[in-house]
């Protein structure tokens, strides 16, 4: 399945699917933070590989990225990106420990990976239930660096097959005070074959 062939209706289905998944992930996050978590309407973008860092606010912006491979009946990647300051606020609220600007220690890395794990699992189980598919996240990996450098590993994997990438993106933020607000981006990047499987499952559901 090539990305140019996607219809408006299919893009809407992806948005809706992501909305449901993200709703569950947001519930999990709001329970962790004891704060309401708001979601933006998801964006489904067929992005040229070279444009992806710009979607994230520039290649040099300092971010913390947590990536998981999507395994099971549909393959792809999940990327959870926090601006560096948000990751520090998140750590502060979860473990009471975080030094602005300091290198993330083992405890911080493991805490943030666990957040990635919980959000992805919530997202995938909601999506899997809906699609009647088994979707399993891999072990999360973390990198804290420039946005361009954090995402290029993913672009490389996707770039093996095509120049264009389908990205389902949802921005979320909590309603805490601005000085300690947590915002982030959740990306679902299905492989081309996975997209076909997802649409087939949605069609099955309709009949």
């Amino acid at each position: 399945m090539t990305l140019e062939q996607l219809t408006e209706q299919q893009l809407d289905m992806l948005k809706e699917l992501s909305n449901i998944g993200m709703g569950h992930a947001a519930t999990a996050l709001s329970q962790m933070l004891d704060q309401t978590v708001m979601l933006r309407v998801p964006r489904v973008t067929v992005a040229d590989l070279a444009e992806v860092p710009r979607l994230l606010g520039g290649a040099e912006r300092q971010v913390v990225g947590i990536t998981l491979r999507l395994l099971g009946e549909a393959r792809g990647h999940i990327l959870l990106l926090f601006p560096r300051a948000s990751a520090e606020h998140l750590l502060q609220q979860l473990s009471g420990q975080s030094e602005p600007g300091a290198e993330l220690d083992e405890m911080a890395v493991s805490t943030l990976c666990e957040v990635g794990n919980i959000l992805s699992s919530a997202y995938l189980s909601a999506m899997g239930n809906l699609l009647e598919m088994v979707l399993i996240p891999s072990v999360p990996l973390l990198a804290s660096d420039m946005a361009g450098a954090v995402v290029d590993r993913l672009l490389i994997e996707l770039g093996q097959s095509e120049d264009l990438t389908l990205v389902v993106e949802t921005e979320f933020h909590d309603l805490g005070p601005e000085s300690s607000a947590v915002t982030g981006h959740f990306f679902l990047i299905p492989e081309p074959a996975a997209l076909a499987a997802i649409f087939a499952a949605l069609d099955r559901g309709k009949t």
Binding site: L49, A50, V52, P53, G58, A59, E60, Q62, T67, E103, V139, L141, L142, A143, D145, M146, A147, G148, A149, V150, V151, D152, R153, L155, I156, G159, Q160, S161, D163
Partner: protein, 162 residues
């Protein structure tokens, strides 16, 4: 001075006083070629080592091999002499460290190996490199001097000059 942005999977050739600039290289590898006589140079920001036969149309800057080939052709078309050219490479980091495969022979390493091999095939000397590690790099190539400044965000912002 004009900055020429080299995006992901991109390749650009320019002449002094321009700067060739690439932001946020992780596992990607950057390749710079330079003719000091003409102050003419090129930079590529590549994702993968080798193009595969039978894959559809792609950006020349996406693969190390196609990028070097295209850059060489454009440099020579603008008067560069191959015997005068030198190369510098940067990037090729392992951004996501896996506890299961701590010394993974990852894509950054494979990109680096490909760049060295291909430069060797074309007989272009590799005069300097800043490769590997676990950090991203932002690069500025000054075509007036041939100097390359590399910034990273480790602990404190550090600058390496090649």
């Amino acid at each position: 001075m004009t900055d020429v942005r080299v995006g992901i999977a991109d390749m650009r050739v320019a002449k002094a006083p321009a700067l060739l600039v690439a932001h946020g290289l992780g596992s990607c590898i950057g390749i710079a070629l330079y003719d000091p006589e003409l102050c003419l140079g090129g930079m590529a920001h590549t994702l993968l080592p080798y193009q595969r036969a039978g894959t559809g149309p792609f950006r020349v800057g996406k693969f190390v091999d196609s990028a070097i080939e295209a850059m060489l052709a454009e440099l020579e078309a603008r008067g560069a002499v191959r015997q005068r050219l030198w190369a510098k490479i940067f990037g090729g980091a392992t951004m996501f460290r896996s506890p299961l495969h701590p010394e993974d022979d990852g894509i950054g390493v494979r990109n680096t190996r490909a760049a060295r091999e291909i430069l060797d095939v074309f007989g272009i000397p590799l005069v300097a490199e800043d490769i590997g590690g676990h950090h991203g790099r932002s690069v500025e190539f000054d075509l007036a001097t041939g100097c390359i400044q590399i910034r990273s965000l480790r602990q404190h912002e550090t600058v390496v000059t090649l």
